[in-house]
């Protein structure tokens, strides 16, 4: 298991898991989202290429109203 930060909450997750699989596990499978890891944008086309590493800081955002 490794420890990561997901939207500023500490989480444990199995090592060597792909971002695409982690997103499904966390319940984001069907949601309209965008992802950044360690402050860098991660394009959707690379979700199944990116392995989550220990101490990664992951931000997942969804649309909201805004001014």
């Amino acid at each position: 298991m490794i420890t990561i930060s997901l939207n500023n909450e500490t989480k444990e997750i199995v090592a060597n898991i792909l971002l695409s699989d982690a997103l499904v596990q966390w319940g984001f499978g069907e949601t309209k989202i965008a992802v950044a890891i360690n402050g860098e944008f991660v394009p959707r086309s690379t979700y199944n290429l990116r392995t989550i590493l220990a101490d990664d800081q992951i931000d997942i955002v969804t649309p909201i109203g805004g001014g």
């Binding site: 309209k32 944008f41 997942i60 955002v61 969804t62 649309p63 909201i64 109203g65």
Partner: protein, 267 residues
């Protein structure tokens, strides 16, 4: 004569709109109220944002559905970003999720008045334009900042009327008039700080090209009616600008002819 038909010459990054009113989609008491306000505003562009959300929390779904159903062009923002890096990353996330390269760029420099960071704004605009974004920067009314934003490729400017959410109206008419006088060929939208339709009308009378606001509508007792009031004021202000305002003068001048005035007799 017939009523003047609405103009269709409000062009931003090559897209032409009839409405000069851009409406925000936050702070409404319900998604339905937001939807009705968008309809009554006659807006063709709405702003929206991105935030962290627990996947179990579907509260934002209705807002997003109504925004999509509105058919309006989407203008995502980078609200809350305090650094160039944050703003650039959030813009890239917005481009993917909303499938648009338009971005209302906010780089906030101070928490107290949410004043844009002019240095970060220019740097982030430069980076994003080079990445293919169409940047609509939320900026102050500083002339030199606005010129620098144009220099790096911004084709629209969005100077504040007053700090976000204050409803103070046009706080610095001298700066705003100077901006309009010195930058004639770039569309300028007054973004933020307006609280009343009369203030929006005044900005349009000054020659600004459009109005972007959120709080003044969302926090009204009747947001859809206030949205309509702003839309009417913006139309009125634009017509007044096109019609040409009279010159102000210090001394009174009678409007009714003085020749033939009754009860007047040569002494």
């Amino acid at each position: 004569m017939t009523r003047t038909a609405p103009e269709k010459n409000f062009t931003l990054y090559g897209e032409t709109f009839t409405s000069r009113f851009l409406l925000g989609t936050a702070l409404y008491t319900s998604p339905q109220i937001m939807r009705d306000a968008i309809v009554q505003s006659r807006s063709e562009i709405v702003t929206l944002g991105l935030r962290r959300q627990n996947p179990a929390d579907r509260a934002g779904d209705a807002i997003w559905q109504f925004i999509q159903q509105s058919g309006c062009r989407l203008l995502p923002n980078t609200a809350g970003c305090k650094s160039v890096k944050e703003a650039v990353t959030l813009a890239e996330m917005s481009r993917e999720i909303f499938a648009t390269d338009w971005i209302k760029l906010e780089v906030i420099g101070d928490d107290y008045n949410l004043q844009p960071d002019p240095f970060g704004l220019v740097e982030a605009s430069d980076i994003l334009i080079k990445k293919g974004f169409k940047v609509l920067p939320y900026c102050t009314d500083d002339l030199i900042l606005c010129k620098r934003l144009v220099d790096v490729g911004c084709e629209v400017l969005m100077p504040w009327g007053a700090p976000i959410g204050t409803g103070q109206g046009l706080l610095n008419r001298y700066n705003l008039n100077t901006l309009r006088e010195r930058i004639k060929d770039i569309p300028m939208i007054i973004d933020a700080g307006l609280g009343a339709p009369s203030q929006a009308a005044e900005a349009m009378e000054m020659g600004f090209d459009g109005i972007l606001l959120n709080t003044a509508v969302a926090k009204a007792l009747n947001p859809p009616l206030m949205a309509e009031a702003f839309a009417d004021a913006i139309d009125a202000g634009r017509k007044a600008y096109n019609a040409g305002l009279m010159q102000k003068r210090q001394t009174a001048s009678p409007s009714t002819p003085t020749i033939g005035q009754p009860f007047w007799h040569q002494q």
